[in-house]
């Protein structure tokens, strides 16, 4: 067997089994809720995969997932567990929205660039806090990122309910609509937008850098054995901070992309748990880029099924949370690999 295939044999096998398990667990879940899983899968398949418009909807769902998964993957390689993608998403949306609403007179490409940068800065800042605390050796990042997840919506809420609130009455508080130059362009009548392509772009960069560049090797060294890395002269603390900021930046990008492409204004309910889904995707894919692509598709598929079922069979969205938990339980309960390779 050629070396290339041999290296991929085990991860591929693990991936396939994981996919089968996930579909099985979800199917079981549907059965328990009194729905027909086969019918649900068939329906979702026909409406979301075979149908071009449906497929574009599914891919639209993938966009934030690719980015939030990367937001977890990059710190993961350095040995960190970033559960704060949710909060970083919101902070990116916040800062990006500021750029959208308060900057006038720019042509669309420039305005969008500004949005993207602002979003990434917002997310990076929110990732820098836990990153710094961890780099200084003070607090484990898992705790701080989780706490910051609770702070972020409060900050967004302050602005959306307060100084940025749109004067016109609406069901929920929201900001005024973004100007047209601040909206992400989409393809031919679908909702497929720039965000998805940005996601693919960054995924490709990640895939290349992590495996082929010197930085990737250094990061993986830190993730593999920080003590040894330190003795080899690798600036471990710097990498910890950088990884958290880059991860945060990507989650922030996901946030502003979602707002600028889908909603058109900043409001409270912009993330149905994208950050946590990104965490799940990364965990299932072991930070492997191809795995992330596949798992993002799968999770988007499941989320679409859930959404369809919600309309047609009245399945509450909290069920998706339970489902994620069941998937995670199942995957954790049967470790196939001999060890996690970073």
């Amino acid at each position: 067997m050629p070396n290339f295939l041999r290296r991929w044999k085990w991860p591929a096998l693990r991936l396939i089994v994981t996919v089968v398990v996930i579909l099985g667990v979800f199917g079981l879940f549907l059965l328990l809720m009194g729905k027909d899983p086969i019918k649900a899968y068939r329906d979702t398949f026909t409406s979301n995969v075979l149908n071009p418009r449906g497929l574009s909807e599914l891919v639209v769902r993938m966009a934030p997932l690719l980015l939030t998964a990367l937001a977890v993957a990059i710190p993961f390689r350095v040995g960190l567990i970033n559960v704060g993608a949710e909060g970083q998403f919101m902070l990116g949306a916040l800062l990006g929205s500021w750029a959208a609403l308060n900057v006038q007179g720019l042509p669309q490409p420039l305005h969008l660039l500004l949005l993207i940068l602002a979003g990434m800065v917002g997310g990076a800042l929110w990732g820098a806090i836990p990153g710094l605390l961890r780099a200084l050796g003070w607090i484990n990042e898992t705790i701080t990122t989780l706490l910051l997840n609770y702070l972020a919506p409060l900050i967004v809420g302050y602005f959306v309910f307060g100084p940025w609130r749109a004067p016109e009455l609406a069901m929920y508080p929201q900001t005024p609509e973004f100007p047209p130059t601040a909206r992400f362009p989409s393809i031919a009548g679908t909702r497929l937008h720039l965000g998805f392509f940005l996601g693919l772009f960054f995924l490709a960069i990640y895939a290349y850098l992590i495996s082929r560049s010197r930085w990737g090797l250094e990061m993986r060294a830190v993730g593999g054995n920080p003590e040894a890395a330190r003795r080899l002269g690798i600036p471990v603390e710097r990498w910890i901070l950088v990884a958290m900021m880059v991860g945060g930046a990507l989650a922030g990008l996901a946030g502003i992309a979602e707002v600028a492409a889908i909603h058109g204004r900043l409001k409270m309910a912009i993330s149905p748990g994208y950050g946590f889904m990104g965490f799940l995707i990364n965990w299932l894919a072991f930070a492997n880029p191809v795995g992330i692509l596949i798992m993002s598709f799968l999770v988007a598929f499941i989320a679409s099924s859930g959404f369809t079922l919600q309309i047609t069979q009245r399945l509450p969205y909290a069920a998706v949370n339970v489902l994620m938990a069941l998937i995670l339980f199942t995957v954790l309960a049967k470790p196939l690999a001999k060890g996690v390779q970073r």
């Binding site: 050796g137 898992t142 309910f161 339970v322």
Partner: protein, 297 residues
């Protein structure tokens, strides 16, 4: 002065729902396990106790149901960690997702309803109108020294602490680390669920999605703050309870600050607590916790 007294009584009241999960987690962490799923456990306890209390009109049955649920759910976590060698952080997060989602599903029919409340009794037989608490509050402050005694003055407490310091050595001494961890997880599950239950049918009398608002994670911070000592946990819980009550009082006074900014107080406080007390704590932490907490697993 009366403002202070009412603040104090509120602080004690709001300390209880966070003291329970903190005590449970102290015991759990003393066996070397970090449980990020406390939030999920608390929400499960809150929703289940509310539902059962609403249906049976008996709050104590609600508490019992919450205890059973917390026990079962955390045993799943323990099984994953002990027998499947799963990452503690990941397993805890899975439990968190499960609790958040399941509690929302279970509690959906009961949002906005009123369920049977826990009855209140006066403190120290006084005639006070404000220092009246339900039994769970009294129990919480009684449980803390009990846990301390168990950990430091009994044979089983010594063995439990040995597991948290070095499972290998404990095993050599004839202790089964796996069994001890299951028992600790059972206790922690019950405590966390009771904490959540107290919040819904002891304090607010309502249920809403996500009502514990991150207390499960704040409890973990409090465990660090208390240096894994149940008596210090009392202090931490009171500080937190005091912060919550202070925020409520300020809001009631109509201070013109956005509710959002006020809501941030407990979280900012927690981060500050971690900053001030959480550093350099590695040497005090149970040794086998070290890799999970301060390094990577």
């Amino acid at each position: 002065m009366s403002w202070f007294l009412s603040w104090l009584s509120g602080a004690i009241l709001y300390a209880a729902p966070i003291l329970y999960p903190t005590l449970g987690e102290v015991v759990e962490q003393r066996t070397g396990m970090v449980n990020l799923g406390l939030e999920g456990l608390m929400l499960l306890g809150a929703s289940v106790s509310f539902a059962v209390s609403y249906i049976t009109k008996n709050p104590w049955l609600g508490i019992l149901a919450a205890m059973a649920t917390g026990l079962a759910a955390n045993l799943v976590y323990a099984w994953l960690v002990v027998h499947r060698n799963a990452s503690q952080l990941a397993a805890g997060l899975a439990l968190m997702f499960f609790g958040i989602g399941m509690s929302a599903l279970l509690g959906k029919p009961y949002v906005g309803q009123m369920a049977a409340y826990l009855p209140k009794y006066p403190l120290l037989g006084s005639q006070s109108l404000i220092f009246r608490y339900d039994l769970l509050v009294f129990l919480a402050f009684f449980l803390a020294p009990l846990v301390w005694f168990f950990l430091f003055r009994t044979r089983w407490g010594l063995k439990l602490r040995a597991v948290g310091e070095s499972p290998a050595i404990a095993y050599a001494a004839g202790v089964s680390p796996g069994l001890v961890r299951y028992l600790a997880a059972a206790f922690a599950g019950i405590c966390a669920a009771v904490g959540g239950a107290h919040l819904s049918i002891g304090i607010t009398g309502t249920w809403s999605e996500g009502m514990t608002a991150g207390r499960g994670f704040i409890a973990i911070a409090l465990v660090i703050f208390s240096r894994w000592n149940p008596l210090r946990a009392i202090v931490g819980a009171l500080v937190f309870g005091g912060a919550v009550v202070l925020q409520l009082q300020l809001q009631a006074q109509g201070i013109g600050v956005s509710a959002f900014l006020m809501d941030m107080i407990p979280y900012v406080l927690t981060v500050l607590v971690l900053l001030v007390w959480g550093r350099g704590v590695r040497h005090v932490a149970p040794a086998s916790l070290g890799r999970v907490y301060f390094g990577t697993e």
